[in-house]
Subunit: 273 residues, 3 copies
C-alpha cells in the first residue's frame, strides 16, 4: 500500500547519494530529510565510489553537468550497479543541448537505472535514443492530457520494457510505469512549476522510497510521486495573503515533513492502468 511505502522510509532512513545540480541541491537535501531519508552529496571522481558504497541509493541529476562531474556519474552509477543499489536518473534538460542529450543516453546505455524521472520532453529524448521506441516518438504529444493518455501510457510501457527502468513522467498528470502497469496520478498543483526544483526534489525522494521498499519498487516510486503532489496541494492550502513562490517552496517541504500515513491515504488520487 502507498502509505506503507512512506512508513518504510521513515523506519529505515535510507541514505541517498546525490550527484546533482547546484541550483536546487539544498532543497533536495531538505526534501530528503523531510520524507525520512538522509542525504549525502559527493561529485568528485575520486570520492563517489566510496560514498555510493555506504549509501542505499544513488540519485544522478544532470542539471548542471560538467566535465568533472560527468565521469563521476558513470563511476558512481557503475559502482552502485555492481553493489545492487538503487539508481535513479533525472535527465534534466535532455533534448536542450547535445551534451545533455548525449550524456543522458550514454548513462542509460551503460548503467542500469531502477527509475528514470523527467518531464515528457526529457523522457521522449531518452526514448528516441533507445532502440525499440525510436520512431514512435512522433506519435507522442508534448504534454500528457486526458486525450492522449492511453497512447502515452503504451509508449512509456514500451520504454520501460526497453530500458528495464521504471519510467516516471511528471506534469499536469503524473505517470509511473513499468512494462505492465502504470500509476496515473492526479495530485499536485500547477503553481509547483513556479518554484525551481520540485522535480529535482522528487527524484531524490523517489530514490529514498525505492531504497526503503525493495520488493515493491513501482508502488514505492508512485508513492513518492503522490507524496510530493499531495504536499504541493497541502502547501498551497497553507498559503497566506502575500505569500508567493518562495514561501510556497518552504511549505511544500514542510508538508512532506508533516505527511502521515492517514493524510497520504486520504489525499492520494490515482488509478492503475
Amino acid at each position: 500500500m502507498i502509505k506503507t511505502c512512506l512508513s518504510n522510509v521513515r523506519k529505515t532512513v535510507p541514505l541517498v547519494h546525490n550527484i546533482t545540480n547546484y541550483v536546487t541541491v539544498n532543497d533536495v537535501a531538505n526534501a530528503l530529510l523531510a520524507c525520512g531519508g538522509s542525504p549525502i552529496m559527493s561529485d568528485d571522481e575520486e570520492d563517489v565510489e566510496d560514498i555510493t558504497s555506504i549509501c542505499g541509493g544513488l540519485n544522478i541529476n544532470i542539471g548542471t553537468l560538467n566535465k568533472n562531474t560527468i565521469p563521476s556519474m558513470f563511476k558512481a552509477g557503475k559502482k552502485a550497479n555492481e553493489l545492487g543499489h538503487v539508481v535513479l536518473l533525472d535527465p534534466v534538460g535532455a533534448g536542450a543541448s547535445k551534451l545533455r542529450t548525449n550524456t543522458a543516453l550514454k548513462l542509460v546505455e551503460e548503467i542500469k537505472f531502477d527509475v528514470i524521472r523527467g518531464n515528457i520532453s526529457e523522457i521522449k529524448t531518452i526514448a528516441f535514443g533507445s532502440q525499440t521506441t525510436k520512431g514512435v516518438d512522433a506519435d507522442v504529444a508534448d504534454a500528457v492530457t486526458e486525450d492522449n493518455l492511453d497512447k502515452t501510457i503504451d509508449y512509456l510501457k514500451k520504454l520501460s520494457a526497453d530500458t528495464g527502468s521504471i519510467i516516471a513522467v511528471t506534469g499536469a498528470i503524473d505517470l509511473v510505469c513499468d512494462s505492465n502497469s502504470c500509476y496515473v496520478i492526479r495530485n499536485g498543483r500547477p503553481e509547483m512549476g513556479k518554484i525551481t526544483g520540485t522535480g529535482c526534489q522528487l527524484s531524490a525522494v523517489i530514490t529514498a522510497f525505492v531504497v526503503a521498499n525493495p520488493d515493491n519498487k513501482l508502488e514505492a516510486a508512485a508513492a513518492a510521486v503522490i507524496t510530493m503532489g499531495l504536499a504541493g496541494e497541502i502547501g498551497f492550502d497553507n498559503m497566506q495573503p502575500g505569500d508567493g513562490n518562495s514561501t510556497y517552496r518552504n511549505r511544500i517541504i514542510d508538508a512532506i515533513y508533516n505527511m502521515d500515513e492517514e493524510t497520504l491515504s486520504n489525499g492520494a488520487k490515482y488509478e492503475i492502468r
Copy 2:
C-alpha cells in the same frame, strides 16, 4: 511605461541562461520565476553555446568564477552576441582580487553587454579599466549620496558611452543610465543588504525585463530595479515579530511574485535626469 515592462515579462516568459555563482543560484532561479521569466543554469564549456542559443538572454555573474567557468562565460557571451541576444554582466567582487578584476575587464573588452550591474565599487573597477573614464575615478565617491549624485551620474553616462552598455549601480540610491538619461531610483530598504544575493537576483531579473522589452531597454532595466526595490519594501512591511533575514529573503521573492501593474506604478519612486 514602467508597469508595461513588467507586463511584457509576464506575457512573454523570457528564458534566461545564467552562468552564476553557487551561493545565490537558487534564489536567482526563484526570483526569475517570480517576475515571470524562466531560468536555465549551465556553465560547462561544452554546454553553454547550445543552452544560450535557445534562450532570450544571458546573465553572467562572476561571484564564484573558476578556471572551468571563465572560458564558458566568454563562449556563451560571444555566442549570445552573435545571435543578438541580451547579455548582462554582474562583476561580483571586481576590485577584490586580480582574477575577478581581470576577468571582468576582459569580458567587457570581448563581449558587448547590454547591461552591466554592480555596486559603485565594482562599477568603478570596470570604469578604471576602460579607456575614456580612466583617471576620472578619483572624483567619484564610494557611495552614491544626494551630495555627489550629479557628479556620479555624469561619470556613469560617460562609462555607458564608453562601453555601449546600460550601467546599473545599486546601493542606497539606485542609478540606471545610458549615455543620455539616468533613472534615479529611491525604492528599496537598507535591510536588503543583510540578505545574501539580492544583487544577483536583480541581475537575473533585469536580464528578463530587457529581453521582454527589446525596444525599450533602459526603461526595462529601470523597471526591474524598481520592482526589486519595491518588493524589498513590501516584503519588509510583511515582516512579523521574530522574522529575520532568512524570512525576509522569502518575502522579497514572494513580493516580486505578487507584484502587479498597479502596485508597481503606485510604489515606484524615481526621476529621470
Copy 3:
C-alpha cells in the same frame, strides 16, 4: 563574557572567506550575515589568496571537496596562516571516504587551525590520524552522553594539545575545548538534525566570532555554539502548525539575526570543566 563575544561580532562585522560546499552555502552566507559578519565565497586556486588576504577569517568546509577546490583549500589556509588570520576546519564526512579522510588529515598536518569543528565521528577520524591520540580512539564512544562525558572531554583536551586547535564537537551535548578547559553546552534541539547545514552554518559563525574576539578565542567559539543552539530553541518555539524542517531552517537563521545580548545571557546553558 559570552554576550560580549556576540556584541564584538556586531561591532566589527568580520569578513569571512568561505571555501565551502555548494549544498548549504546560501544558508552559510545568510547565517553569517545574521550573526553580524559578512561572507565572501571563493574557491578557485587563482582567486583564494587574494580573497583570504582581505578577510579576517577563513572557513574551510570539505562537504563537496573536489580536485579543483582541494588545492585551493591548502593555498588559502597557508596564506591565512602566513597573515595570522583565523582559520577553521569543518571536516564534513571525514571517515566516510578515503578522499575526505586523507584531505582532512593533510589539512590538519599542513595548516594551523584555530578551530576544528565536527561531529564526534569526524573528530575521531582527525584524532586517529594525529600522533598523540592514536590508539585512544577505541575508548571514545560514537555519541557524547552524560555517561561518557568526562572521558570524552579528556580525549578532546588531548587532541587540542596535539593539534594546537580548539576542538568543537556538536551533537546532543556540544563540547568546545582547548587543552585546559572545556565548555559543555546543552543548548539546541534534536530537530536541528532534520535540516541540512546547521553544522556548516555554525562553522562559519564560529569563524566570525573568533575573528571578532582575538584575545578570547575559546570563549568566542563557545559563544557561537551557544548562539546557534539557542537560536535552534527560539526558532523551534516560533514554529506554527503545518511548519516543518524548511520553515524551521528559516526560523533558526531569523533567531540568530534577532539574538541580543540579554536573550543570549539568559538562554545560555553551559558549564566549564
